[in-house]
Symmetry: C2
Subunit: 355 residues, 2 copies
């Protein structure tokens, strides 16, 4: 099934995705939904949703597993399906909270269901969509544990460590999302608060913890400090870049709807910059738009303001610095050359993304 | 901490509840929320929420554990905290879907949060409440697994069986809720569909599975058929009684808001009866009210219609028959007298409840 050589992220996705699909097929079949076409339709949406995404988190766990001497090439892939189900669960619930319509070029779960029932009289279709999407997320979350609890390829000690780490991950990522929502309540939020949610939701969740999972599965000792430092720099760069893309890109150029952060009152490096370092005029202008639906004209004005205030330049600098520090850490690490190369390729891939 | 004698459900709640509270205290403390009063406020709501409830599911697991010779009196209580966290998780997510305002006399999670932010300008307070309540539920769900994965009092084989059973429980209860929501889409739904969701959400989730958990923890072999038959009868009686209470009681008499099922288009034995066995006049009258907010006057008319149609009598008969069959199964089982007595007391307690 899997080649023994070290895969790059594209080969990895090609190899992992059929395992994800086959897990979902098996699950959906076992739920014996014969006769309930509706529920079957929602569950099949999960298959569609899980075709998308780059598999960055699972790949990072895989790369670390291999870098630390892990040899179970097929088995580790079977297991790492759980990371992508976890990620899909979190995205589906987050998309409800962010009122997002699209993700990776397809409808978000709640919109998908909403559109299915939109024409039924007497139904609150939006609420119905949210309700079923909550359940789809809950299903994925339950399956994460099912995969871990059913695994027999890895020894109990390693699996136990991964499960306890998963508890930590959940504590962190849910807290990160709670804080994220809380920062939408007010206009002026401290950089510490914004940074805390970035560290929890992006640095630890997306980078530090997946590396630890890979290392635990390999059974080898690892330098936690190295993972944390690398993950923090990569996380800050990754998240700030994501927030920059939200400002810079049009719906016509990317599948993401732009300025969603402003409409949803999301606090980012850029909103922080305006509310704290903007001129009086910029602050009051931005206040007017914060939390509102924006026309193309509004967006043009806002984009100009972000440019002129220096927020974009400062953000770009923050992104570049942190990518560069992450790369430096890899180069000076005691990873073997082959792995250094793959880690650097991954950083480069993340740095190049346009959506 | 715990007396060695067999507890009734009241003693059980008194003994279990401090363990639940102390688990939550420990967790909330470990999240180090210093400086985030808001998130701390939401998490403290969980402590309030988890003071309520009768502990029927955990008690049933305890009773079965003891009946099958389990001797770890303190340890089993520590572990069974997970059943009540699981239940609270499901209630919090269900209450979002049902747009419920109150539960056990306190605000539901989403309303609690909504009311905290209601006065903040520019915020969709309802959506914010839903978002934080999704996260509170997700937290509880993660902690369910944390409790199971951290347990060292029970042997690995028993714990593994409980964890795999938990996968089954999740598959069943989420499917039950999906079907439940789907039956709100249409007026005419078959009795098979309604019964299927009752079996999944009430019989298996509330009765059959908790008994299996207790039996697995005891390590003794058990008669699965006995659990299933008992649980099904108890589940049908329990759910139909719950649905009857929704029709019969006023807000003034109980903490539950009456006719919530009708307003939320919930399909029950009683709605099935009207839509399928009602007169033409009753059907068209009920159609008019189905899915609507109801005035006291509307409720009076509906209550009269439920009486006159024979739905109430038929429902009462269904409830009594199933309680009686459940009791019969206990009496003719090979449980020891002491346990038979406690199981029958539990059935009686459930049969007597008024809210």
């Amino acid at each position: 099934m899997v080649a023994d050589q070290l895969m790059d992220i594209k080969q990895f996705k090609k190899t992992l995705d059929p395992l994800i699909q086959s897990f979902l097929d098996k699950k959906i079949k076992s739920l014996s939904l014969i006769g309930d076409k509706q529920a079957l339709g929602y569950l099949n949406y999960l298959k569609l949703f899980l075709m998308e995404g780059k598999r960055i988190r699972a790949y990072l766990a895989y790369l670390t597993y291999k870098a630390y001497g892990g040899k179970k090439n097929n088995e580790v892939l079977e297991l790492l399906v759980f990371i992508e189900l976890l990620h899909a669960f979190l995205l589906i619930h987050d998309d409800i909270m962010d009122k997002a319509d699209m993700r990776h070029g397809i409808k978000t779960a709640h919109r998908f269901v909403e559109d299915k029932v939109n024409n039924i009289k007497g139904i609150d279709a939006n609420h119905f969509g949210i309700s079923q999407a909550i359940l789809l997320g809950d299903y994925l979350f339950a399956w994460v544990y099912e995969i871990l609890d059913n695994n027999t390829s890895f020894d109990e000690v390693a699996l136990k460590k991964v499960k306890l780490l998963l508890s930590t991950i959940m504590d962190e990522v849910i807290l990160g999302q709670m804080l994220d929502l809380n920062t939408t309540l007010y206009e002026k939020v401290s950089w510490e608060e914004i940074l805390k949610k970035i560290i929890l939701k992006s640095a630890y969740y997306s980078f530090v913890r997946p590396m630890q999972i890979g290392a635990y599965l390999s059974g080898k000792k690892f330098d936690e400090k190295f993972f944390e430092d690398f993950g923090k720099h990569l996380g800050i760069a990754f998240q700030t870049q994501d927030d920059l893309l939200d400002i810079e890109f049009d719906e016509s150029e990317t599948h993401k709807s732009s300025f969603n952060d402003v409409t949803q009152r999301q606090q980012t490096f850029f909103t922080y910059f305006i509310f704290n370092k903007g001129t009086v005029r910029q602050k009051s202008l931005f206040s007017k738009y914060f939390g509102k639906h924006l026309s193309s004209f509004d967006k043009k004005i806002l984009r100009k303001m972000f440019e002129e205030s220096g927020a974009i330049d400062a953000g770009r600098k923050l992104i570049e610095e942190n990518f560069s520090l992450a790369k430096k850490l890899i180069k000076s690490s005691d990873l073997e050359e082959e792995y250094k190369k793959k880690f650097l390729e991954l950083v480069a891939l993340i740095a190049q993304r346009q959506n």
